[in-house]
């Protein structure tokens, strides 16, 4: 099963569950009403349940009001502000997608001229196409944001973070899961400890980190930042992938060894393909490290290399926050993360069972 199939299966299951739910609920309600009519179900009991459920729904809504609020502000266009009654309430007074257009800017395929020379001949030809514009932002807003640039920086950093981290984590997780070596358990306990205290220690050593980066002349270097993120992602993700690999039965590997495969081939052609879902999970986690980190990034990057979180924060001026623009920017930045988390939630909950270190 490829990773794509695995993911699409999961998504299909989730969607099917969501679609089928209303029908199930209708049946439940019908059953309850029927029961009450026949007197087998106590109406008082039903009333209690309904009230409790409604109260909980209201409670959940109140708890998530900040997110709802920012959504409402973003929908009311660029000029939304907290200084007038028009746009600051919980019920939107108008809908205007301008703020989102401001964030995303033009949607277009850039025009280009590509010259192609056929080797060893003098034949040369050019292909050119004009700029194909799907959405011209200037029709709606005066200026556009730096979101595309921040987005490219974030993608660049997250990409290299994933590359560096995978190179370090996958072999290590394999060794932890399948091999015996001196200090294995101690190292593993150390890693688990640092998943919890690592972030705090990282912030505490921020002065030294900045000094080191400056002294070596590598501030504003996106690759160095990626490597730093990758290194910080090692403990948690090694542990997570190791736990996943532990759940893969060893019988297939034993068969491969019986057939005379070298240890390298067993690892590469048997264990790794089976561990793909686990690798996909840590891929997400590692990618998000670079996507969300703010403190170090704002300390060492210059404006031309700002990532999305730093760019978001730079929108805030102490006295005058453009709330409409800010909200739209923040939502576009955060929404992929939310979808990923909703999907990955079952693994997060599993990850908190502390049986993961046995063996």
């Amino acid at each position: 099963m490829t990773v794509r199939e695995w993911f699409s299966n999961r998504i299909r299951n989730d969607v099917r569950t969501v679609v089928q739910k209303p029908a199930e609920w209708r049946e439940d309600v019908a059953y309850t009403v029927d029961g009450m009519r026949r007197g087998t179900i106590d109406p008082l009991d039903v009333a209690k349940t309904v009230l409790a459920t409604l109260a909980t729904i209201v409670f959940v809504f109140v708890l998530l009001i900040p997110v709802y609020w920012i959504f409402i502000i973003a929908l009311q266009g660029e000029g939304a502000t907290l200084y007038s009654t028009d746009s600051a309430g919980l019920i939107p007074s108008q809908f205007d997608p301008a703020a989102f257009v401001w964030v995303i800017g033009d949607i277009a395929i850039p025009g280009a001229i590509v010259g192609i020379t056929i080797p060893f001949t003098d034949v040369e030809f050019y292909i050119s196409w004009p700029r194909i514009v799907f959405l011209d932002a200037s029709n709606y807003v005066d200026s556009t944001s730096d979101f595309p640039r921040y987005f490219r920086n974030s993608m660049f950093i997250s990409f290299w973070t994933v590359v560096f981290a995978m190179l370090m984590i996958v072999p290590a997780a394999y060794a932890f899961s399948r091999r015996e070596f001196a200090g294995r358990m101690k190292l593993l306990y150390g890693y688990i400890l640092f998943t919890q205290v690592g972030a705090g220690l990282g912030i505490a050593s921020v002065i030294a980190l900045y000094t080191i980066f400056s002294s070596m002349g590598v501030t504003n270097n996106r690759l160095v930042l990626s490597f730093y993120y990758a290194a910080m992602a090692v403990p948690f993700n090694t542990w997570l992938l190791k736990t996943y690999m532990d759940s893969i039965p060893t019988s297939l590997e034993e068969a491969a060894i019986m057939d005379g495969a070298s240890p390298f081939r067993v690892a590469w052609e048997v264990v790794l393909p089976l561990a793909k879902p686990g690798i996909a999970t840590i891929f997400i986690f590692i990618f998000l490290v670079g996507w969300m980190e703010f403190i170090i990034a704002q300390l060492i990057l210059s404006p031309e290399h700002y990532t999305l979180p730093v760019g978001l924060f730079s929108l805030i001026d102490e006295h005058n926050v453009p709330w409409g623009q800010f909200s739209a920017f923040a939502l576009v930045y955060a929404s992929p993360v939310v979808f990923i988390y909703m999907f990955a939630q079952r693994y997060i909950e599993d990850g908190f069972s502390f049986g993961g270190t046995k063996g």
Binding site: L64, V67, F181, L201, A208, G217, R265, M292
Partner: protein
């Protein structure tokens, strides 16, 4: 050509060049070689800066001295040894005799105590609601309610800073006006600002408590619960004598972890009002950061950071040892 045949050929060459006794030693420890790159990279970025922080805390480091020969200079160790000179314990003495440090440490501990209490109460409360049989569709609500955890911290914290905006129609002000009070300049008043930090921290961290508590609650023995019901124990009696003892350990464990997170909280005061007004609410990590980057006293900043690490380290050791929480990690 498959990758494994490349591997085979590399192996042949390796066997031809490396003498046998060296190879034997390597074979024995080879799995360690797979672990080392990650371990070295992590240690490099975790322990080296920490060690360097200790070093800086004993020097008069400031931008003018540390970066004496410019970035990438090759004097000393990769330019890490600049013109700064040792001053012994001077930084620590200066820091410990500075009332703003003690104020910051006091505020930080107050923040930790209040926020942990709030997080535990709120988290356990939500978890109780979200596992109650009376609430239908609770599984779906659970997955919605942990959304704050999924959002990037800088996103949520800037939004909360907007909620506590002193503008007339900031959400917090709308709420107090709705309740019949007059509007507040939240972040300009010391304790108002502190309260807004607390509320934000609680909102950021409750999903973690909820997840831990829900999985603990699901492990509470149904038989024990039923037995208590048969014996006529009321809801609160059951909660106190059956539920609490069985969820105590995991919740304690989560509380200590989140206490450590609260202790090193940086973003909330930084984004809200830079630890203001007048540095009154600088939590300890922000205090060190401001000393270093606003007042250019890297040595003093490093000393503050190391004091913070010492305090939180001592707290963690006592908490883990007292609560015997290491057993929780040992697993079954």
């Amino acid at each position: 050509m498959s990758l494994s045949s490349v591997g085979d050929r590399t192996r042949e060459r390796y066997q031809a060049t490396v003498p046998e006794h060296v190879r034997d030693r390597l074979e024995e420890h080879r799995p360690l070689l797979l672990v080392l790159p990650g371990l070295i990279a992590f240690s490099l970025f975790m322990f080296f800066p920490l060690a360097y922080t200790i070093y800086l805390s004993f020097t008069d480091a400031e931008p003018a001295t540390v970066f004496q020969d410019g970035p990438g200079g090759l004097t000393g160790f990769f330019g890490l040894r600049g013109e700064e000179s040792f001053v012994g314990l001077e930084n620590y003495i200066a820091v410990f005799s500075d009332p703003t440090f003690w104020n910051s440490l006091g505020v930080t501990w107050l923040f930790v105590i209040c926020s942990v209490a709030l997080k535990v109460l709120f988290g356990v409360g939500i978890a109780m609601i979200m596992t109650s049989d009376r609430v239908k569709g609770r599984r779906y609500m659970r997955s919605i309610i942990i959304i704050p955890w999924a959002l990037p911290p800088i996103f949520t914290i800037t939004i909360w800073s907007g909620i506590f905006s002193s503008a007339q129609f900031g959400l917090a002000n709308q709420a107090v006006i709705f309740l019949g009070f007059s509007e507040q300049a939240w972040l300009n008043d010391r304790w108002m600002a502190f309260a807004s930090y607390l509320l934000t921290e609680m909102w950021l961290a409750y999903p973690f408590m909820v997840i831990i508590t829900v999985s603990a609650l699901q492990a509470v023995s149904d038989e024990l619960m039923d037995a208590a019901k048969v014996d006529g124990a009321g809801y609160f009696h059951r909660f106190w004598h059956v539920t609490v003892p069985s969820i105590k350990r995991p919740v304690m464990f989560a509380a200590i972890l989140t206490a450590a997170a609260s202790f090193t909280q940086f973003l909330i005061p930084y984004v809200f009002n830079r630890g203001g007004p007048n540095r009154a609410n600088e939590l300890i990590v922000l205090h060190g950061y401001q000393e270093a980057f606003n007042f250019n006293a890297y040595g003093a900043g490093a000393a503050i950071m190391m004091s913070a690490v010492a305090f939180i380290g001592a707290f963690m050791i006592v908490a883990v040892w007292k609560g015997r929480l290491a057993e929780g990690v040992d697993g079954p």
